[in-house]
Structures are given as C-alpha cells and as structure tokens.
Symmetry: C2
Subunit: 70 residues, 2 copies
C-alpha cells in the first residue's frame, strides 16, 4: 500500500500539523503515513479523500501485498 499524501499535501501548501488538525489525528499519524510506517484506517482514508477532494483510489495505491496484510 503506497500513498501520495506527502506529495498532495505539499501541493496544497500545508504542514503535517495543519493537515493533522483538519483531520483530527496527530501529526505523528500523518508523518507515519507519509513515511509508510503503517496503512491508514478506512476512516482516515475517507477523511483524506474528502479533504483533498480526491478518491481514496487516487491517494492510495493498493498493490497485491505479501504475507503481512490484513
């Protein structure tokens, strides 16, 4: 599961902290997402999609994952 959050956020000219506040999550959650430390919950994916006016599929790229998906 890759994502384009960092790229899209920067294109919108906002900080991790601002995005986090807008979505009601912590800055660490945004940072961890951008750096691929974990996948978003579906709720966070929907919040990001709504915030950026994009579809979940345009922000997150699902690739056949290996032995460690859920």
């Amino acid at each position: 599961m890759k994502n384009r959050v960092e790229e899209i956020r920067k294109r919108h000219g906002i900080k991790q902290e601002e995005l986090a506040a807008a979505l009601e999550v912590t800055r660490q959650t945004i940072g961890s997402l951008e750096n691929g430390r974990y996948k978003p919950s579906i709720t966070l994916a929907f919040k990001l999609a709504r915030y950026f006016h994009m579809s979940i599929e345009d922000i997150f790229i699902y690739e056949e994952e290996k032995e460690n998906e859920k």
Copy 2:
C-alpha cells in the same frame, strides 16, 4: 460507515463463505461487516472493491461519525 456488501454479494449470487475465501478472510469477517459490527480495514475495502469491480466509495458510505471513530 455503512456499506452495501450484502446487497452486492447477493447480486453476484455468492455465499458469505465464497466471498470470504476469495478475499482470504473468514466468513465471520464478512458477516460482521455486512451486519455493521465493525468497519473494514483499508486492505479489505480494496479487496472488496477489486473483487466487485467497483470503487471503495461505491461500496462504503462514509458519514460524519460520532465520538467513536478513528
């Protein structure tokens, strides 16, 4: 978070067990999703979307949730 999994699955004429096997989850996971006992992980949402050839947004309906979202 509402979803149309049961309706879509029935339209495809398959059992919970068959859908579960195709997505590599348990029958209980599908049943619990259909009956609203919990939200899907983003991976399961992507698997369902891919399986049914639909977008996540067409299967799951995100509504401003209350005090218990994440």
